[in-house]
């Protein structure tokens, strides 16, 4: 499976994703510059964590004006999977591909530590390898991971089963303990925890593997047909 890994000035997890996709998962991964270019040839797009443009404004607020975002929006319409991790999640909300926004953590501090998550929905193309309600452990590393949306949006998220992961112990103040959501159409996932940091036993956890495996299974083996 061919993964595009977007890279913005200030991204710093693109090589970690590349390592996870190519060295650990044995798939094809390519870095794609924020400057643009076609995403047509790819089966999935991953948006890495980091501090695009230094995050001096609001996480993802400047990156969303990059040329590649136009391509990303086109790609989203094809129904192929897109995952935004951490800063990638922020970029997806800023770009309007996911509802809500990411506010500063309630502690006002950056937090890096492993956290427990509950798989809230295992019916998505990103979570089908997990059990419903299963507790998994992934690391977080963010200063603006406090997911916020208004009550109407939250209700919609719940009704459409768009909440993918919830924190077992909310570290950042996110509304309804939300750690990751999918788009209404189901093919865009945004999450603050880093699955790419949990793909090797040596580094402490392999719970992230099944996220990538779910994507591969759903796209390649089950032959999902795109619009």
């Amino acid at each position: 499976m061919r993964f595009a890994i977007l890279s913005f000035p200030g991204s710093n997890c693109e090589y970690d994703l590349l390592h996870a996709i190519t060295d650990v998962m044995g798939e094809t991964g390519e870095l794609v510059s924020y400057k643009g270019g076609s995403l047509n040839e790819f089966d999935a797009v991953l948006i890495p964590g980091g501090f695009s443009y230094g995050d001096y404004l609001r996480g993802g607020a400047i990156a969303r004006f990059s040329p590649i975002i136009t391509e990303l929006i086109k790609f989203a319409r094809t129904g192929k999977p897109i995952v935004g991790i951490c800063n990638g999640f922020q970029i997806l909300t800023e770009a309007g591909l996911l509802p809500g926004t990411l506010l500063t953590n309630k502690t006002a501090k950056f937090i890096c530590k492993p956290v427990k998550l509950q798989v809230q929905n295992n019916q998505t193309m990103f979570t089908s390898e997990y059990q419903f309600g299963e507790e998994i452990e992934l690391p977080i590393a963010h200063g603006e991971g406090n997911y916020f949306c208004d009550a109407t949006t939250l209700k919609e998220l719940e009704e459409n089963n768009q909440i993918a992961f919830k924190y077992a112990e909310n570290p950042n103040g996110s509304v309804d303990d939300i750690a990751g959501i999918v788009s209404k159409s189901g093919n865009v996932l945004g999450m603050m925890p880093h699955p790419e940091r949990a793909v090797e036993e040596l580094l402490g956890s392999t719970d992230g593997i099944r996220l990538f495996k779910s994507m591969i299974e759903n796209v390649m083996s089950r032959g999902i047909v795109y619009d």
Partner: protein
């Protein structure tokens, strides 16, 4: 600000050079011997920066020469941006430490950020990818909200810079003592990894080759910061914020990525590269010319990117604006290099050339504003052999060891766990991204951080250590202990110590008793480095750490890197499960002077430092490493501050494993800080193999249990507490005091 209009005669008559930190003697040297004329304002500015302690090491050079800095693994020793050690497989590790004490004292957040930024540039200028940072911090006791705000700001600065640039902050150490209350220590170490065939050094060679300026524009920030960092503080001059710079990690990330692209993929075009650190443009350019054998150089200051108008040559040359690099590029290849930077969105400009002869010449608005021999700036600064005298407190120190008299063992233990120096530092290190780059095998919280080396079966252990209290009581032995403790941490993590970097944080070297501390500490460190074969490959000197004439404890931070030959050797300090045997490696004595318990019970440290035997230390370390490599060890933990009691409990905290231990020691001795000791746990089936390796160096004292209770029986007391409760005390103490 004095303007350029000041004449050379006025500089001499009004002794304006003195404001910049130059002495009468140094002025005479410049005017009468080097130039044989009176220097103008720009020139005297150049000398003030270059002849500061920060750039010239004029007071410390004779001492630094005593360091042991060669081993079969050393590829690059002191003198470059950072040192390099060969770890096999064609790879080298590059590391260095830097202090940002003075800037952090007046502007904690930015002082800390620029410390991180500066050390990163030293590492990637060698051609290495920075893979980890560690921070060694010393603060005063937390007495009020101002203190905790100050500490929070330093930590936030470190976190902001490292997290943004994507280099994991994986370790370090933090300690608290009133000795640092007005003069905190903010030391940062960076470790990089490189392919040894890609080494770059900071030299400007080849007549006609171009000098290219890269990165952020030059502004009026941090002007004469090097001289500022080389002066003392007092209450009248507490706010010298103009000498502090502002960090911009986003720009630095772009500069770093672009420089590594040039180094890796344009090696034929690049002659040399160096960061613009202390004394900014003048130090980077003059040093690059000097290192190439005294090459001449002409710079046109009008071509230097400037973010403010009307900057004088003095300001342009002495500015310490951050995120800037200087390159020497082969003639004809300029556009190729400028294009790379353009592609990364980084500013770059040709600002001068390497010239015939050996003169360092600056042009501003078409006029020559400085013309001096390049070596006189960079390598021929005066060197002072300072007077040394044993401090009074050492002459009259009592030989008797402090006797703690521990009656209520539980209360003493709980109080000890809550001491800020002992308590968990998780509230600090959880604000650092410890995992970006996905190489961190052992994150903060164990004896040393461990990172795997991709493409090999090897890993690196890294740590920073020093206990200033020990050096205060005996600079030489304390210096030995600093290196020994770092090595112990590396060994406990499964590594072989291979080299160190240091930040020598001391007082005023012009005071004989403080010079004595520096000189003795370095000799002590050298004693240990020779025995452990851990050469000093880089470092930094931070003198004049005084406030109102009161110096800090002598605090030579040791940053050590160890090589873990196989991933299987990686070891952590946590007890892994129930029914493992617990051993103490090393003997415990009545060693309390300078200890945490002496400080806790009396409010200060005093007396003669307890004895220390380097050979025993080395022998115990080698045995533990052998036992680890033989696969007989479940966990290993270095014993340091707080002694055996703290070491045992810390081993239990990780997985909340309780234990039963019986020792032939008094309750007081549970807190003794005798060196050369470890707590090691061993599975029962490895018992005989382990004991065979250790011989009489290890004593079996008990085993881990399943009920989560800690039971310790001493010769005169008993302790029973739940590991969960003890952990709660230890884990919450610092956060609680910071509120």
């Amino acid at each position: 600000m004095i303007k350029q209009a000041v004449s050379p005669q006025e500089i001499k008559d009004r002794k304006l050079y003195a404001n910049m930190g130059l002495t009468d003697h140094e002025y005479d040297l410049i005017a009468n011997q080097v130039l044989k004329r009176k220097p103008n304002y720009t020139e005297i500015g150049l000398y003030s920066g270059m002849w500061s302690e920060h750039c010239s090491y004029k007071n410390s050079k004779p001492v630094l020469k005593k360091f042991y800095s060669k081993s079969s693994r050393v590829v690059q020793g002191p003198g470059e941006g950072a040192g390099i050690i060969d770890i096999g497989d064609g790879k080298g590790i590059v590391f260095k430490a830097e202090s940002h004490n003075h800037p952090s004292a007046v502007e904690p957040f930015q002082g800390a950020t620029t410390g991180v930024g500066g050390i990163l540039r030293d590492i990637f200028s060698m051609g290495a990818q920075p893979i980890a940072c560690l921070d060694s911090l010393r603060f005063g006791e937390i007495k009020n909200q101002n203190d905790s705000y100050f500490i929070s700001q330093i930590v936030a600065g470190i976190s902001a810079y490292g997290n943004c640039i994507g280099v994991p902050t994986v370790g370090g150490d933090v300690a608290f003592d009133d000795a640092y209350s007005k003069n905190p220590l903010v030391n940062v170490m960076c470790v990089g990894l490189m392919d040894l065939d890609k080494i770059k050094v900071g030299k400007a060679a080849g007549v006609g080759n171009s000098i290219i300026y890269v990165g952020a524009s030059t502004g009026r920030d941090g002007i004469n910061g090097a001289s500022f960092a080389s002066s003392q503080f007092d209450s009248e001059h507490e706010s010298q914020r103009s000498a502090v710079q502002v960090g911009d990690p986003f720009t630095e990330k772009l500069v770093m990525d672009a420089c590594l692209e040039v180094i890796n993929n344009h090696p034929d075009a690049l002659v040399g590269i160096q960061d613009m650190g202390a004394a900014g443009l003048v130090s980077s350019s003059a040093e690059m010319g000097s290192k190439a054998g005294g090459n001449g150089m002409t710079l046109d200051l009008d071509l230097v990117p400037q973010r403010e108008s009307g900057m004088t040559p003095f300001e342009i040359m002495l500015s310490e604006s951050q995120e800037r690099m200087l390159l020497c590029v082969r003639a004809g290849h300029e556009q190729e290099i400028l294009d790379v930077f353009d592609d990364f969105g980084v500013q770059a400009a040709v600002i001068g050339h390497v010239t015939e002869g050996s003169n360092y010449k600056l042009i501003h608005h078409g006029e020559v504003v400085a013309d001096v021999p390049v070596d006189s700036l960079a390598s021929d600064a005066p060197v002072y052999h300072r007077e040394s005298q044993v401090p009074d407190r050492l002459l009259h120190a009592s030989n008797e060891q402090f006797d703690p008299q521990v009656k209520d063992l539980e209360a003493t233990t709980n109080k000890m766990l809550a001491q800020p120096t002992i308590a968990s530092k998780h509230s600090i290190y959880e604000t650092y991204d410890t995992q970006v780059q996905t190489n961190t095998v052992v994150a903060p919280g164990s004896d040393a951080a461990v990172l795997r080396v991709r493409g090999t079966n090897k890993a690196l252990a890294m740590t920073t250590d020093v206990n200033g209290r020990y050096l205060y009581l005996d600079p030489r032995v304390g210096g030995q202990m600093a290196v020994a403790e770092a090595a112990r941490n590396v060994v406990a993590s499964g590594g072989l110590p291979v080299g160190i970097t240091d930040c020598l944080n001391f007082g005023n070297p012009e005071k004989p008793d403080q010079f004595y501390e520096l000189d003795q500490a370095v000799m002590g460190m050298t004693d240990a480095c020779k025995l452990f074969d851990t050469p000093v490959i880089s470092g930094n000197v931070s003198l004049n750490n005084e406030f109102d004439g009161q110096a800090i404890y002598p605090t030579p931070m040791v940053g050590m890197v160890g090589l873990i030959e196989k991933l299987e050797y990686i070891t952590t300090q946590d007890f892994k499960g129930t029914d493992d045997l617990i051993y103490i490696v090393g003997k415990t004595g009545n060693d309390f002077n300078g200890s945490e318990i002496q400080k806790m019970l009396t409010g200060k440290v005093s007396g003669k430092l307890f004895d220390f035997n380097l050979d025993t230390e080395f022998s115990n370390q080698n045995k533990v490493r052998t036992a680890i490599e033989a696969g007989t060890v479940q966990s290993a933990h270095d014993l340091a501050e707080g002694g055996l009691m703290v070491g045992l409990l810390e081993s239990g905290f990780g997985h909340e494993v309780g234990f039963d231990v019986t020792v032939n020691l008094t309750a007081s001795q549970m807190f003794a800080e005798t060196q050369s000791r470890f707590v090691v746990s061993v599975s029962k089936k490895q018992q005989s193999a382990f004991e065979k390796i250790m011989g009489n160096a290890a004593t079996l004292v008990g085993q881990t249990t399943s009920d989560g209770m800690v039971n310790i029986t001493t010769s005169d007391n008993q302790l029973k507490l739940s590991i969960k409760d003890a952990k709660k005390t230890w884990k919450g103490a610092l956060e609680c005091q910071m509120k």
